[in-house]
């Protein structure tokens, strides 16, 4: 593995590879190794030696860091100023059985977002500017360090979530937010998947700023908070903000939610732990190779999708993002075709195979196949950033 220490060295490595027609896999801490289609590359380049916070002025709430900076280092610096990454990036090591140190560049390259995503945006929404090296070895700067910026094409969004197939990120500039003064979670017990979808939609229609909405069915409930959630399925709703504001909103939310089922409350500490466990997909961090899907559909379609699949396959699942994000563990076969057919029938979305055995991974496309016109367009875009096709060919389709 090559670990260039400067951006110029990285550009040289990539330029040379492009000239030689040598393929490269790009990574940060490689904690998401195995994500995407199986690819063979001649060499791997890691950003881990491009490390360190370049600029952080807490009053501006903007950070610039080299891409290989450990996420833990960023989060510690933010925590010291009572700030945070609003999009709550998940840690994939548990479910993927990997080691290593997640980097901030890896977080953005994979557009990794957690429970707050449906209100605060994805990682890509916090990313303001980047420096990256394209497939010709040229250093490119895109975006900037201000929140409102419509100057030119938004290559920042394009690179976010491109999983190292369009360019090698060397530096990222992103927006951060203050840590909410407090948090509280309301638990509604005993709802089935469909009832939970109704309850969560009702909660999100209220002016109380719910910042987390998940449903934890009976099969996974005991895996959260060391089994201390109340009996029955748990539908959980998070409120965050100033203490005075949270208590007012909590009363309002509870008043409406008690029509759906018995209510319990979790305090700030329990909330923090619970949402971290939801974020990191705690129930399926199980050292297994059972196929694990991450599915994104319209919130009201989530439970219908799972119900339809259950008639034909062994499925265990729980829901985040008001029901629109489904973490789904298959008992045996990944059932990719069935799953993707149901997604299309329910209005569209996408399924990503996050984990599976080596054999399954070689047979099953990890990302949702795209319609021809979109696939061709994506291929042309890739060609414009990586004309020689040296960055992980085939990883994203």
């Amino acid at each position: 593995m090559l670990t260039p220490h400067t951006e110029a060295d990285a550009a040289y490595v990539i330029r040379t590879a492009a000239t030689d027609g040598k393929t490269l896999g790009l990574c940060g801490g490689n904690t998401r190794a195995g994500f995407g289609n199986v690819t063979e590359t001649a060499e791997t380049v890691s950003s881990r030696a491009l490390s360190g916070i370049v600029d952080y002025d807490p009053a501006e709430m903007v950070v610039t860091a080299r891409s290989g900076t450990p996420l833990a280092e960023i989060e510690a610096a933010l925590a010291a100023n009572r700030q945070m990454l609003a999009f709550e990036p998940m840690d994939h090591r548990g479910i993927m059985g990997t080691g290593g140190e997640p980097t901030i560049g890896g977080v953005f390259a994979a557009n990794v977002s957690g429970p707050r995503r449906f209100v605060s945006g994805a990682a890509r929404d916090s990313l303001l500017g980047i420096r990256f090296i394209n497939g010709k070895g040229e250093v490119i700067r895109a975006g900037g360090r201000v929140m409102k910026n419509v100057t030119g094409l938004d290559l920042v969004k394009l690179l976010a979530g491109s999983h190292g197939t369009l360019g090698f990120l060397t530096e990222v500039t992103f927006r951060v937010l203050p840590v909410p003064q407090t948090a509280e979670t309301i638990v509604i017990s005993g709802l089935d998947d469909a009832g939970a979808a109704k309850a969560m939609a009702a909660a999100l229609a209220l002016p109380v700023e719910v910042s987390g909405a998940a449903h934890l069915p009976q099969t996974v409930r005991h895996r959260f908070l060391s089994g201390s959630l109340p009996d029955g399925e748990a539908t959980v709703l998070r409120l965050e903000g100033l203490a005075a504001s949270v208590s007012v909103r909590s009363e309002k939310l509870a008043a409406v939610m008690q029509a759906f089922g018995p209510i319990a409350r979790l305090d700030a500490d329990e909330s923090r732990t619970l949402w971290q466990e939801i974020r990191d997909v705690h129930p399926y961090a199980d050292n297994s190779q059972k196929p694990l899907w991450r599915v994104s559909v319209a919130p009201s379609a989530g439970h219908q999708l799972v119900a339809a699949l259950r008639l034909e396959a062994g499925v265990d699942a729980f829901y985040d993002w008001q029901g629109g994000l489904i973490w789904m563990r298959m008992e045996a076969d990944p059932e990719a075709e069935l799953l993707r057919r149901f997604i299309r029938a329910l209005g569209g979305g996408h399924a990503t195979l996050v984990r599976a055995s080596a054999t399954v991974r070689t047979q099953c496309p990890a990302f949702e196949p795209q319609p021809d016109a979109v696939a061709q367009l994506s291929a042309r875009v890739k060609q414009k950033l990586d004309p020689g096709g040296i960055f992980s060919p085939g990883k994203m389709g």
């Binding site: 995503r117 700067r141 900037g144 094409l153 938004d154 203050p178 007012v248 009201s300 016109a373 414009k384």
Partner: protein, 477 residues
């Protein structure tokens, strides 16, 4: 009419076939959807960047995605430039046509297709106005967050083209953060869908790339946007400061405190005087800077937030604090701010700049802006969204005096360079258009620009989509 900004020369291959092109387009569109008589083309010759105008070859006003596709396919085949247009409210000349172009105006595609409250989405045609979405869902307790000041007229298609912002984006983000999906027509007439009611892209984030691409990558015909539950109430507080530095520092402290107001508006002394003379809002005239900070929520929440905000302002030697007890008082506080552009227009012509700067540079850039404008012998008033650093200096001049107009343009260019040099950017929400096109090299290197143009070419190899915009005309691949 100004002449400093060049357009691409008309293509001979198009100009020589004008009549044939109009005849061909008439085959593709119903009669009421095609405009080609010179007199009828006049309303389309410019947008809100009125100092430049060009009469287009024809204007297509399609009613369906299929008609958009037919026109694009034809124009692509014959190399006819296409200039997309919503309501024509662009402040950067994004919708100004050129003599060899067909304007594709989406104003007849103005239906709301679906409101889905369970998923909090609205699916609309691209010609729907921004405000009409919030109006359609308001009684059911929802709203659409991005609110550019032209929201009464501007269309969602145009908002996507320019990635529009507004006063509320401090809390809710800009268009790209609220856009879930589009149906769009590519330059060859292919119709694709990106995104939908679900979150995030399955492959490359083409939706993120389309948003803010200024009509250069294709034509969006339908959009699915995120709806948000409407807050119970909103209440402003007004602060007057003796120095703009104190106001700037106060903004930074409010943001850093963890409170996210829905708006923080800044006015400098010239702006205060202009607005007060017009609106009689009772603004203090003995201060150098004024902030209007608005919070949302229930009465109890707003009380708590405003109390904290007032405490912060007091730490910054605030001279005037005006809290409001009633809706009438709140309306009065906003009345002056909302009439700023109209009030300025009554005393002089003006051009409105749109650079964004880091919050810590607000005071520095304000002072420098005043120096620059003074050096050209002109006046400037500043009214802008302070919470996100998006400045809107209004440079006052006399449009009937060409020398004055040239000075205003030159001063504007200097101010935008200042914004970039301070770590910001040329445009926060109005777009590059033609206005800032020739300043792009101040923000980007040649290799940066070439990478953007290469990605553009993945969508439109032949440069027919809005070709005179965004990228400097010289040095194109």
């Amino acid at each position: 009419m100004s002449e400093a900004i060049q357009f691409l020369p008309p293509r001979d291959s198009v100009m020589s076939r004008r009549a044939a092109i109009v005849t061909d387009l008439a085959e593709l569109l119903p009669p009421e959807c095609l405009v080609h008589e010179a007199r009828e083309l006049v309303p389309f010759e410019t947008d809100a960047f009125v100092s430049y105008r060009r009469l287009p070859l024809a204007v297509a006003l399609p009613k369906t995605t299929a008609q958009v596709a037919a026109v694009l396919k034809y124009c692509h085949r014959y190399g006819v430039p296409v200039v997309p247009r919503g309501a024509g409210t662009s402040l950067s000349g994004g919708a100004i046509p050129q003599e060899d172009a067909v304007v594709l105006c989406l104003s007849k595609m103005a239906r709301i297709l679906e409101l889905d409250y369970a998923n909090r989405t609205a699916t609309v045609q691209a010609g729907v106005t921004n405000l009409s979405i919030s109006e359609a869902v308001g009684t059911d307790g929802f709203f659409y967050a991005p609110d550019p000041s032209s929201q009464l007229a501007c269309t969602i298609g145009g908002n996507i083209g320019m990635n529009s912002g507004g006063a509320h984006c401090l809390k809710y983000g800009v268009t790209t953060n609220n856009l879930l999906g589009v149906k769009m027509v590519l330059v060859d007439g292919a119709v694709i869908e990106l995104g939908g009611k679900h979150l995030d892209a399955s492959g490359y984030d083409l939706l993120g790339l389309i948003c803010g691409s200024e009509g250069q990558l294709g034509i969006v015909t339908e959009a699915t946007v995120r709806l948000i539950a409407k807050p119970e109430g909103a209440r402003p507080v007004l602060f007057g400061f003796e120095a703009s530095e104190a106001a700037g520092a106060c903004v930074a402290d409010i943001i850093a405190s963890g409170i996210i107001p829905v708006a923080i508006e800044f006015m400098d002394k010239p702006a205060i005087e202009i607005c007060e003379a017009f609106a009689h809002a009772g603004y203090p005239l003995d201060v150098a800077a004024l902030l209007i900070v608005e919070v949302e929520g229930s009465e109890a929440e707003m009380d708590a937030m405003l109390q904290s905000i007032v405490e912060i302002a007091r730490r910054h030697q605030v001279k005037t604090v005006r809290e409001c007890q009633s809706a009438t008082e709140a309306a009065l506080i906003w009345k002056g701010r909302k009439s700023a552009f109209g009030a300025t227009g009554r005393i002089a012509d003006y051009i409105c700049m749109d650079g964004t700067v880091p919050l810590s540079k607000l005071s520095y850039v304000l002072n420098k802006t005043a120096e620059i404008v003074e050096s050209f012998g002109l006046r400037v008033a500043n009214v802008f969204h302070a919470g996100d650093g998006n400045m809107h200096p209004l440079i006052l001049f006399n449009a009937n005096d060409p020398a004055d107009a040239a000075k205003a343009e030159a001063a504007g260019n200097e101010i935008l360079k200042l914004c970039v040099d301070a770590g910001g950017c040329l445009t926060g929400e109005h777009g590059v258009g033609i206005e800032k096109r020739d300043l792009m090299r101040h923000q980007y290197s040649e290799v940066d620009l070439h990478q953007q143009m290469a990605v553009r070419a993945a969508f439109d190899e032949g440069w027919i989509m809005n070709p005179s915009k965004v990228f400097p005309l010289d040095g194109r691949a």
